[in-house]
């Protein structure tokens, strides 16, 4: 059985579990929404808020990422299924791709909704030419986030106290995505006079990040969960 078919099996299983338990839809989404509301409250000044809206969206995405990754591996660790997967000789790379894929899909849905919420909540405005950039940014940032999240999620899954090891590993690693995606979205929204064309180099960075971490993660995941 080819790697990709196994990866698809794993992804399908993860999405089936999500579909059954509806955790993302029913709970992570409102969580992200509340996070954004709280940010706004903590900042409490409209001028500042509009200026920083893109950053806040991506921060909310990051926190949701943590919750999603935790959930994705809690599901495996709950009854020792991760051990079973490893013993069943499922290629770690397939597990990595499969879980990463299902994570990326869930993230994309989340980002779409959060960006829409930001437009409404933070009074951001999207010029027509910015929409393409916005969509591209999401599509390039997401695989990078999923790659990092899956990698460290797998590493932390085997240990107790993983609830807290995970953010510690993930947050610094995705800082480049946070910066790149924020800048790109700022350009897309024209925040503080940024031009749309300024955003494309950042998209390039995001792509490089996603590819680098995707490849690195594929290679590193096996050794990381193996021991």
């Amino acid at each position: 059985m080819s790697r990709w078919r196994v990866a698809l099996l794993v992804a399908r299983k993860d999405l089936a579990i999500e579909w059954r338990s509806r955790v993302v839809l029913d709970q992570v989404l409102p969580f992200a929404g509340v996070t954004m509301v709280l940010f706004a409250f903590a900042l409490d000044s409209d001028a500042v808020l509009e200026r920083v809206a893109p950053g806040l969206v991506w921060l909310a995405v990051l926190f949701s990422l943590l919750v999603l990754v935790q959930r994705a591996f809690a599901v495996e660790a709950a009854d020792g299924a991760l051990d079973a997967l490893r013993v069943a000789g499922v290629d770690p790379m397939s597990i990595y791709w499969g879980k990463g894929l299902s994570l990326a899909l869930q993230l994309l849905v989340l980002e779409a909704l959060l960006l829409a919420a930001a437009v409404v909540l933070y009074g951001a405005e999207v010029p027509a030419e910015g929409v393409v950039l916005l969509v591209t940014t999401s599509i390039t940032a997401t695989p990078g986030l999923a790659a990092v999240g899956t990698l460290y999620g797998g590493l932390a899954a085997g240990f107790t106290g993983r609830e807290t090891l995970l953010p510690l590993l993930v947050l610094p690693a995705v800082a480049p995505v946070l910066i790149g995606a924020t800048r790109a979205v700022e350009s897309a929204l024209g925040t503080a006079g940024a031009a749309t064309s300024d955003g494309w180099p950042w998209v390039g960075l995001l792509t490089v990040f996603a590819v680098a971490f995707g490849v690195g993660g594929s290679l590193a995941f096996g050794p990381l969960i193996d021991e």
Binding site: M1, K13, A78, D83, R86, V87, A88, G89
Partner: protein, 226 residues
Amino acid sequence: MDAAPDPEHEHPARPVVELTDAVALLGPYPALAGATIRVDPGEIVLLRGPNGAGKTTLLRVCAGLVPLSRGEGRVLGHDLRTERAAVRPRVGLLGHSNGLYGDLTVRENVRFWGALVGATGDEIDAALERMAVGGRLAEVPARKLSAGQRRRTALACLVARRAQLWLLDEPHAGLDAAGRDQLDDTLRAAVAAGATIVVASHELERAGSLATRTVDVVAGQVRSVA
């Protein structure tokens, strides 16, 4: 290394498991303290011994989950020190926990494991029937099952996985009398299909009657029983 069968051994076939003076650490503790064991194809070996003797650790070493600290080991012809990844695809381990996805139904769980080795729908159904978790139960999410039903489902997953070496850690725990009979049948069928089985269990009578050989595990070492 030397693929040719060794003429000195009684069994001409290459052993499935061969540990020599194996030492395995859990943290600082030598849970295996120099274990030597050999399992030939088609055997059903019962590991018995007191709590904490190292039976679970021995099985996990054979599955490639716990690394060897000293000593040597080969499983299905692969060296445990260098080729652990190669060992796994053909090993099936049932640990103390069941490895089920609670949100998926019994059938979905079995189907997932079966699909990994390309099992067909009929084979999945057969695996479900083997451990009597077909019918109504097949559509119940695994988290809602009783303890024994969960154990049965885990065994059905193992059947679907069609491993060459079965490592079972107290498979009887939680099974009712009928389940134990079904387990016996399942194991016999697996051996008939070419598998080799190592079972750790405290159900000595039950497992002993099935096993072709019994070994004692005591304080991290293995002793043959006369």
